[in-house]
Amino acid sequence: MSYEIILSDTAREDLRALPDAVRGRVVQHLEAGLANYPTELSRPSRFPYWQKCQLFQVDVDDDTERWEITVLFQYAADEQHIQVLAIGRFNYPLSQEFNYRPRHDDD
């Protein structure tokens, strides 16, 4: 079953704020991934809303940076729509990727 994804005005602003190339990839992930496999590709959120929502996270690389995209969503009551509440981002230079990924198994 495929869900239709809907975005609040705030989430739409979040999406528009992304650079063109990154935004295009995020839209692809939402349409091809989240809309079709929301259960498999998401996990319950711990924060920031008092109700538990779902988190869908993807990494998108452009030429120089990694963009970690966090999509907070809820299932609509009609069970046909996914409501995107917010799209967060954290980006850093690819040259610093070493900072965030284990270089080897250390424990």
Partner: protein, 165 residues
């Protein structure tokens, strides 16, 4: 012959001096290695502490989320108000994680390996996802959905194609 003896004494003194310099530098290097090893231990403690703190804050936030739906209307407003405080705490913790990750990197440049790094990096990635979202904006979003202010992703994609940012 006498000149040779003088030369031998001068050279012996130079060799002795060089040996003493080498010993002093060896000692200095040992002290540096010792300090680096001590620093590594301290950073490992910090790695463990920050990772544990993230888990503890998460447990408290889980309790907060569990309490909200069952609270009375009066209590709920107050309980929901804690959301902003949790967010501030997460942002502060993210700053510490950022600094700690820089320390891990420095130690690895010295060829040290840091115990607990994997759990730290997993927590750090999760934390980055948390602080990337604003509680106020999420609350505004919920209100927008309740008020019918939303659009489909397809419509937004078409809008962006027709009117690029």
């Amino acid at each position: 012959m006498e000149g040779g003896k003088d030369m031998s004494t001068v050279l012996k003194n130079q060799v002795d001096t060089a040996e003493k310099s080498a010993e002093a530098l060896e000692e200095a290097l040992l002290q540096i290695h010792h300090r680096q090893a001590m620093l590594c231990m301290d950073v490992q403690d910090l790695v463990r502490t920050t990772t544990n703190l993230f888990q503890q804050v998460g447990q408290a936030v889980d309790d907060w989320q569990a309490a909200c739906p069952t609270a009375s209307a009066d209590e709920r407003a107050e309980i929901q108000g804690f959301g902003g405080r949790w967010h501030e705490l997460y942002v502060s913790l993210a700053t510490t994680f950022q600094k700690t990750s820089g320390l891990i990197r420095a130690l690895e440049d010295w060829r040290f390996s840091v115990k607990g790094k994997r759990a730290f990096l997993d927590a750090w990635k999760e934390l980055r996802g948390i602080v990337a979202l604003s509680p106020d904006r999420v609350a505004a979003s919920v209100e927008q959905f309740n008020g019918g202010r939303f659009r489909t992703l397809g419509a937004i994609r078409d809008e962006l194609r027709d009117n690029p940012v």
